[in-house]
Symmetry: C2
Subunit: 402 residues, 2 copies
């Protein structure tokens, strides 16, 4: 009764699972694993004091995790303090691995990440995928996946799942690409076209990018806005360490936030949407360039060379982004805004005007705008880590699968 009363998250029926002793055990296994992973090598006693269980209980949990191959014993700690030194525990580098894959407009990429978060294998293949049909593209991707899985297995890892990032809208089933305009795909069930036998998740590139930022960023808060421009302009809203997906899974459509209500018409039916000012096509047009292959690279290159038209176009785009983000920040009060994905490459020319606009329109402290250090790597890493995360969240589920 001391905490704020109406943090209603745990209200209602609460968790769906019955609160039984087995569930308790599973959650405590997860707590131990998470703690060891996050806080470096730790003794059993240290884990116990951190998660509030007794040393005896932690001992049995650790035993189980070691037997499952998720934790390993590094041996006695070097003692600095009085008392018997503990035996250091660390997450295993030879257990399950998360396989992440990315279908980009002009590349395919796959990587394997172990429980420690280290990337242990990767494969990239350049080549334009725009308007190629899904079958051949996914056949190539499958080949890359096989390579990466083989390489990971060579190091004693086994694949715990596959997560695929695509530049498009994904149905809530987590398998079907509803619409990927830059690929020309629609209503494609990737489940039938990718290697079977691995648990599969498909999601939007921007979502995985935001999760990568959340999980891998240095001081990333638990509430932030992750803006990227892969298809149109997307934002992922991270609230309380989780993705806000929306009822239909369409949350984060920053590109269609009205910036000037009487502006040019947009494909969405509206007028003056952000996309009309800061979308790829709009910026290219404003800069007087033709839409080509590597459009973001082209813009970045010209801007770096000092092309004043390009720079002006990007400045204006930054201003429009600032207007749209003012609305978003007012609505969500995030701790920060992060520019990620391909957008991070254009940040030097977008940021000044964006920050100006945001500051001008804000009373009090201005929401900080930063650039993701992961850059275009985000989505791929986020995908792989989402699999790892699932293992950490419920170690018991994968226990016997090695």
């Amino acid at each position: 009764m001391t905490a704020p009363l109406h943090e209603a998250r745990p209200s209602g029926p609460g968790r769906a699972l019955p609160d039984t002793q087995q569930g308790m055990r599973r959650r405590n296994l997860a707590r131990v694993l998470h703690t060891v992973r996050a806080q470096g090598p730790l003794s059993r006693a240290a884990v116990a004091s951190r998660i509030g269980l007794t040393r005896a209980a932690v001992s049995t949990l650790v035993d189980e995790l070691i037997r499952s191959g998720l934790l390993e014993e590094l041996g006695p700690e070097r003692p600095g303090r009085v008392g018997r030194p503990g035996s250091a525990l660390a997450v295993s580098g030879r257990g399950p691995a998360g396989i992440g894959a990315e279908v980009g407009v002009d590349h395919l990429a796959v990587c394997a990440v172990d429980l420690r978060g280290t990337t242990r294998a990767r494969a990239i293949r350049q080549g334009a995928n725009r308007d190629r049909s899904p079958q051949p593209v996914l056949a190539e991707l499958t080949e890359l996946i096989r390579q990466v899985v083989a390489e990971a297995e060579g190091e004693g890892l086994w694949p715990a799942g596959l997560a695929v990032a695509v530049p498009g809208l994904v149905a809530r089933d987590g398998r079907t690409v509803v619409r990927a305009p830059n690929l020309g795909w629609h209503d494609t069930d990737l489940g039938t076209l990718l290697p079977a036998g691995l648990p599969l998740t498909v999601d939007n590139e921007a979502n995985f990018g935001a999760l990568a930022e959340l999980w891998l960023g240095e001081d990333t808060p638990r509430d932030f806005l992750h803006v990227s421009a892969e298809i149109g302009i997307g934002a992922a809203v991270v609230v309380d360490g989780g993705l806000l997906r929306g009822t239909r899974g369409f949350a984060g459509e920053l590109g269609h936030v009205p910036v000037r209500p009487d502006g040019p018409e947009c494909a969405c039916g509206g007028r003056g949407c952000l996309e009309q000012y800061a979308g790829e096509e709009a910026v290219l047009r404003a800069a007087g360039l033709e839409p080509g292959e590597d459009r973001v690279g082209l813009l970045a290159g010209r801007a770096a060379q000092g092309d004043e038209n390009v720079r002006r176009a990007l400045r204006d785009a930054g201003t429009a982004l600032g207007v749209a983000l003012t609305g978003a920040v007012n609505l969500l009060d995030p701790e920060s805004v992060v520019l990620g994905g391909e957008l991070s490459g254009l940040a030097p020319w977008l940021l000044p005007s964006l920050r100006d606009e945001l500051a001008r329109r804000t009373a009090g402290p201005v929401c900080p705008v930063t650039v993701s250090p992961l850059g275009p790597e985000g989505p791929l890493l986020g995908a792989a880590h989402s699999v790892v995360r699932a293992v950490l969240d419920d170690p018991a589920a994968v226990a016997g699968q090695a």
Copy 2:
């Protein structure tokens, strides 16, 4: 591993409390109580099958809840099916009560709500509070609270907590009013000015209104946007059955979402904020009226009489709201938008243009906009129910206090 992998909410360190057997018991007590309250009179067997525990376990849980005075046995059910009829259980009408209070600009109100959700006592006092100092106002409120508590106690209830709705910003401590422009209060700690001995929570009127909508609305979804106009224009964002508060507690500032980036200057430093078009003052000005006491009532009255200036002003405000909500809907993909609080009285003249604007700017299915049936009652009810909710969420905490 079958559920979507990156619903990361339960990720990270997870709940802060150690997952011990006592915690399990407490959560199961809550599950039983919630189930009985939500699904009407229910037998022990019915509860057991719904929450996934055995009849035996539910029996002991129910015993404990009955001993605490939170549940009561209604006697044997009328049998329609084969087999021994169960004994109906219902939440008690004589246990703890939630006391809700509201400090309005021109009224004070208090009510008591029992576990069943029934309002059992209430007191209202009209009178302008604008620019009165906190002490006398809260002394009056304290008197009303005493009346209501006495009345509730006469019916066998005991107060489990007090929740106060105020038209202003409240600090994250849940006690201090940072700024309430319409009252002229700032940095006022209500904890020292209200009856001690009761657990106290203070929150924004709009937040409580949204929670009332969530808990009491007929088919209210778990994800929606609740718009109200008490101080400026506020929106409460409800995500997954919980309030999105933001890092600084400032989330939902719909009033300062830019509608026309080059519009008139706003006190926030920006230009063309929604408040400049749909705020109380702006609408009164556009309608050619002087700011007086009951401003919303004035507008509604004139509009109902057919005053064309007022109607036009409200139509235009609806259009501006539509633009701002388009942005919000694109960002959050809520299941619906609800107009609540004082705003619900103006809905007939706001809604048509608002819906038009939203529909015009939306591709695909349009987010439905509805009017809260609770109207101006929302905040008061939400406050009282927030206390009830806290009891339902952790019955063990209040068990021995009767």
